[in-house]
């Protein structure tokens, strides 16, 4: 990492730490912002780097959210009774019970979605292009419907999450910090991942999967691993988001296919897919616009976002960073030297 890049990273980190102190009233919005960055980053691993456009990545988010909730409740109470009462039973969690439950819940919310991703990849990765997209969409819709119909986890009426034990203001800061850490870990992990052989392999699958197969690449392994990485971080994000919201239900919070599920794609495309920083830039711009339209254009907000998506997809397909890379390739480390070989001595 160069000195300039290190300084930039530290400045952004400082801004992230300072944000909830400077604007305490907006702490939750900032926390959701980090979750949005994580959405875009994890979608891009599949859609941008590997060329598999998943419309159903939200399934891991919802799955993680429910797993965490169940673990947290099951540690101290009977899950069926708790959910049947739809919030009427108030269980007092001690501090220790709450934090143990949350830690264990987040852990399971990271691991089980990976297993789900492995199973789904075994079923769905025979599909390519639009068929894969529709297949994953089907999984997300089915997950929401199945959860709605399953009364043990609260069905359509959802689950009231255990109440955070800290005082006022603490809850927001706690989950802000958790979301920020999860997203930074996700960023660091992907940054490392894209520097290994893995990145070339998934890029090769994106460019020509038949050719990759013809070269003997273990394509199925790479695809399963890439989706598992997405699932891991999305599961954690789901667990944190559910606890932050305080109340979870299948359609709007856990599996919001038409909002979060589409936003993650829109953000990656806006910033520039297939580049580490593309989704981050896209998420920042998209989230800012989303908050602004929700504040100043209420009633028209979805139309405004829709217009943004249309303009992006029709006129600006390479996204912001992709556009910049076309103009200033040297900023992105793309070397275009054409002078003949001098140093490589071997004939």
């Amino acid at each position: 990492m160069t000195r300039k890049s290190l300084v930039l990273h530290l400045l952004l980190l400082a801004a992230g730490i300072a944000a909830p102190f400077l604007f305490p009233a907006h702490t939750i919005q900032f926390a959701v912002f980090w979750v949005f960055v994580l959405f875009a980053l994890t979608w891009d691993t599949m859609g941008g780097q590997m060329g598999y456009n998943s419309l159903g990545n939200i399934v891991f988010f919802g799955f993680g959210m429910y797993i965490c909730a169940i673990v947290q409740i099951a540690l101290v109470y009977n899950v069926g009774e708790y959910t049947a009462a739809t919030g009427a039973i108030k269980v007092d969690f001690t501090n220790q019970q709450y934090y143990t439950g949350l830690a264990l819940g987040v852990l399971m919310a990271a691991i089980l979605p990976v297993i789900l991703a492995a199973i789904l990849s075994w079923i769905l990765f025979g599909l390519r292009g639009p068929y894969f997209a529709i297949g994953t969409l089907g999984v997300a819709i089915a997950a929401a419907e199945l959860t709605s119909a399953w009364s043990w986890v609260g069905g359509g009426s959802g689950i009231a999450m255990p109440v955070f034990p800290g005082g006022p203001g603490m809850r927001e800061r706690f989950f802000y910090a958790a979301c920020m850490i999860a997203t930074i870990l996700c960023y660091l992990f992907l940054r490392w991942l894209y520097s290994t052989r893995f990145s070339l392999a998934i890029n090769a699958i994106r460019d020509d999967e038949d050719k990759a197969e013809a070269l003997g690449l273990h394509t199925a392994r790479y695809k399963a691993a890439a989706w598992s990485v997405s699932a891991f971080f999305l599961g954690i994000a789901g667990a944190l988001f559910g606890n932050m919201t305080g109340f979870i239900e299948p359609l709007e919070t856990a599996y919001p296919t038409l909002t979060f599920g589409i936003f993650m794609i829109a953000m990656a495309l806006l910033g520039g897919k297939g580049m580490l920083w593309g989704p981050i830039v896209g998420a920042t711009l998209f989230y800012t616009l989303r908050e602004l339209t929700w504040t100043y254009l209420l009633g028209w907000q979805y139309i405004a976002l829709g217009v943004l998506i249309i303009v992006n997809v029709v006129y600006f397909q390479q996204g912001i960073l992709g556009w910049l890379r076309d103009r200033k390739p040297e900023w992105f480390g793309v070397r275009v030297e054409t002078q003949p070989a001098k140093t490589a001595g071997k004939p």
């Binding site: 003997g216 790479y222 490589a344």
Partner: protein, 248 residues
């Protein structure tokens, strides 16, 4: 050595009602260059696809180093050491030339843990060396999709060499290449065969090229094997001449 490196025995492949290959048998000797010719639509590429496992065959058997491979997948066969290039050149268009070569490395002993390794300087130098070999060294940092068609063919050839296969199946390596570059390509194919010890099995339409290159030639027509022999025998075979002139 006991027999052929590739042995095709009575292979039949039909697409619906169209029989693309009917009872085709042939052998590719190790270490040499074998040619496969025939008019358009005679089933040459279908046979290649059958050999590398692109599609299942209806009947017959295919042996690679004495081992039955007709039920293996493309990837498994590639990892055994048999590779093919495509008639419609296929490269990874958004990656640069070096990256194209690095990802083409053999995946024969590739374990799960190897997925997350890095490329050693040695491998990068090997990639550069091979790009030099096909004359693309100066283009090594360019995105492969920006190369001309002929350069992409050369890149695909270098990618195949990077993989160090035992056998390389080339589907019309000179199609679409500038005639002045063809001689250079023939030379490189021969060097790949001699210096790297790769057995070549080549589909080719250009008679001058295949007569120069191959030591043994098979000729197909209408999905069946028509003739086989040395370049001189094939050149003088009346059936081959008729097939090309459309006497069938």
């Amino acid at each position: 050595m006991n027999g052929a490196i590739i042995e095709v025995r009575g292979v039949t492949k039909a697409f619906g009602g169209v029989v693309a290959n009917h009872n085709v048998s042939l052998k590719v000797e190790p270490g040499g260059i074998t040619g496969l010719i025939g008019p358009n639509g005679s089933g040459k590429t279908t046979l290649f696809n059958s050999i590398v496992g692109q599609h299942p065959i209806d009947d017959g058997s295919i042996l690679f180093e004495g081992r039955e491979i007709s039920r293996l997948t493309v990837q498994q066969i590639a990892r055994l050491g048999m590779l093919r290039t495509f008639q419609q050149t296929r490269i990874f268009s958004k990656m640069d030339c070096i990256q194209n070569l690095l990802i083409s490395l053999s995946h024969r002993e590739h374990a799960w843990s190897g997925m997350f390794g890095r490329y050693s300087q040695e491998l990068i130098e090997k990639a550069e060396h091979l790009l030099e070999f096909v004359g693309l060294y100066s283009k090594r940092m360019l995105v492969a999709g920006s190369l001309s068609f002929g350069q992409q063919k050369l890149l695909e050839f270098a990618m195949a060499l990077m993989n160090e296969p035992k056998v390389l199946l080339l589907d019309e390596p000179t199609a679409g290449i500038n005639p002045t570059l063809i001689n250079g390509l023939i030379d490189r194919l021969k060097r790949a065969n001699q210096e790297f010890g790769i057995t070549l099995f080549v589909i080719e339409h250009n008679m001058r090229v295949i007569m120069n290159l191959a030591s043994h030639i098979y000729c197909m027509s209408h999905g069946e094997l028509l003739a086989s022999g040395s370049p001189a025998q094939i050149r003088d075979d009346q059936r081959v001449i008729d097939a090309y002139l459309g006497a069938h």
